[in-house]
Amino acid sequence: MKKIKTKKIAKIVWKHRDYYLMLLPAVIYVIIFCYVPMYGLQIAFKNYRISLGFSGSKWVGLKHFRDFFNGYSFVPLLKNTLFLSLYQLVVSFPFPIIVALIINELKGKYKKIVQTVLYAPHFISTVVLVGMIAIMFSVSSGVVNTVLSELGFEKIYFMGSPKYFRHLYVWSGIWQQMGWNAVIYISALSGVDPGLHEAASIDGASRMQRIIHINIPSIIPTIMITLILAIGSLLSVGYEKAYLLQTELNVSASEIISTYVYKRGIVNSNFSFSTAVGLFNNVINVTLLILANKISNKFAKTSLF
């Protein structure tokens, strides 16, 4: 009986062999570069030695987590990470929506030009973006300081003061991504039934009213999905940019969990400790994602999974 069943399964699998072949490279990749590292997460609870490997190293329980929570850097790290990511979420989230609503009202060639130009910064690398910030906000030759001094203000060393780090980070992000992130809303808006607009204008609705009562409600599901995803990655703020923007002088604001993991782990080879810190970060992210998904499911009837 059992033999027949396995034979049947084998036959079905064989029939679909081409599809499994297509999946194979992806499955191999995901196992080696995603699941083996997940298995390696156990070193957060161990004293990892390269010679002993993931499973051979000695268990130390929650020692690394205790060290992290009791260490002097825990509170500032968590604070910096949370402030930066919340500031980014709250301030930058509405921009792509507004951009999409505006582009949707434009017509013809000008619409095309505005769109193309607004996408451009997305294709600049983070290194170049930070380089442009360094150049524009430079004390000696930057435009911003030139203008400030022309207006009679004192020059400010933006890159070197903790006070400005978050503003530079978030607003440069808005500049870079508002156009690109609007794409998804623009395509949602292009799917709005033109009949709705016709009917509304016959009823005497102004264009502003039509935006508020037709366009915005029609992109709410897209907004919710984007919001859930944004909340889920709240603590994984772009470490690349934070690291690049970091200077010795602004480190009190720019040191976030991920840059800390990089320095303690890769630079100082503190593998177990930094894995524990990274795991803590990851667990909070997943919890936030699930919570956001639940809440959205309940109140907006939209959910990711």
Binding site: Y20, A26, V27, T126, T146, S274
Partner: protein
């Protein structure tokens, strides 16, 4: 009366759009303008709108700098071959997942989706790469990120939306699924492939952190690593106490090089994306957000 109101609305929209346009365009143009201006004027912060003087020394320095040229060649290599690997791994997987009949489909889907939200993180991945002997080799920059769940989902929903009749008739004619995919499906999926090439190529071209973590050899470093040294670290060095003693001619050379490297390194993508714009704006993205 009503007509006038509509016009006012258009004017307001036009003004906001133009304002955004200028905000985005100004920093980009400023870099270009500075790259062709007199370096003394640039260093003094005098160039804020129109070019002052005309000078192409920055570009000449660029092509004389061995490090940068190596970086440029390396980045070209990583982008071209890395993108090919990305396509080979991600696109067929997306096609297989778009077939409802494949047994175990949801298992693989879940397997991929989990990696979107949960990962081993930087350090365990680093240790695995080390163990595999990929540390400080070209391979790691080609392979890392070869599969992207997000892009795979885009592929899946794109393939799911093309009419099945074509594929079915080919299969009745005795074509294997692999042949159907290569001979029939791929040729009509140019929009998708264009977008995938763009996404992956942009990722490789601009990638910086992987090289920072995994590559130590200067001869293997991509352009972005050298860019950081020239653009950012130089700026920070100039600000430190030591910077005051920096040789003026060295400083001016750095200033020159900074703008020209930004322009030359960003140019390929700036030229590429407008051609693919119609693809990523339409169709391909619809319905792909939700897994």
């Amino acid at each position: 009366m009503k007509k006038k109101k509509i016009q006012l609305f258009d004017v307001v929209i036009w003004f906001i759009a133009t304002f955004l346009l200028i905000i985005v365009l100004y920093p980009l143009l400023l870099v270009v303008v500075n790259s062709v201006s007199d370096p003394d004027m640039v260093a003094a912060g005098k160039v804020i709108f129109l070019p002052k003087g005309f000078n192409l020394d920055g570009y000449i320095e660029f092509f004389k700098d061995k490090d940068i040229l190596t970086g440029y060649a390396n980045t070209l290599f990583y982008t071209i071959f890395g993108t090919c690997i990305n396509l080979l791994v991600t696109v067929p997987a997306g096609y297989a997942l778009s077939k409802r009949t494949v047994p175990g489909k949801s298992f693989f889907m879940t397997m991929f989706l989990i990696t979107m939200y949960f990962s081993g993180g930087m350090i365990p991945t680093f240790l695995v790469v080390n163990k595999l002997g990929l540390y400080n080799t070209r391979w790691i920059l080609l392979i890392l990120g070869a599969f992207s769940t997000y892009n795979c989902i885009i592929c899946k929903s794109f393939f799911g939306s093309i009419p099945h009749e074509l594929e079915e008739s080919a299969e009745i004619d005795g074509c294997s699924p692999m042949r159907v995919f290569i001979k029939i499906v791929l040729p009509i999926s140019r929009a998708l492939l264009g977008v995938m090439v763009l996404y992956f190529a942009v990722g490789h071209w601009n990638s910086y952190f992987s090289a920072l973590i995994y590559i130590t050899d200067d001869s293997l470093q991509p352009l972005q690593i050298f860019l950081r040294r020239i653009i950012i670290l130089a700026e920070q060095a100039a600000k430190s106490e030591l910077g005051a003693e920096l040789d003026v001619s060295f400083a001016n050379r750095e200033v020159l090089l900074r703008y020209s490297t930004i322009v030359v390194s960003s140019l390929p993508l700036m030229i590429l994306y407008p051609f693919l714009q119609k693809y990523f704006e339409k169709g391909v993205l619809i319905g792909s957000v939700k897994g």
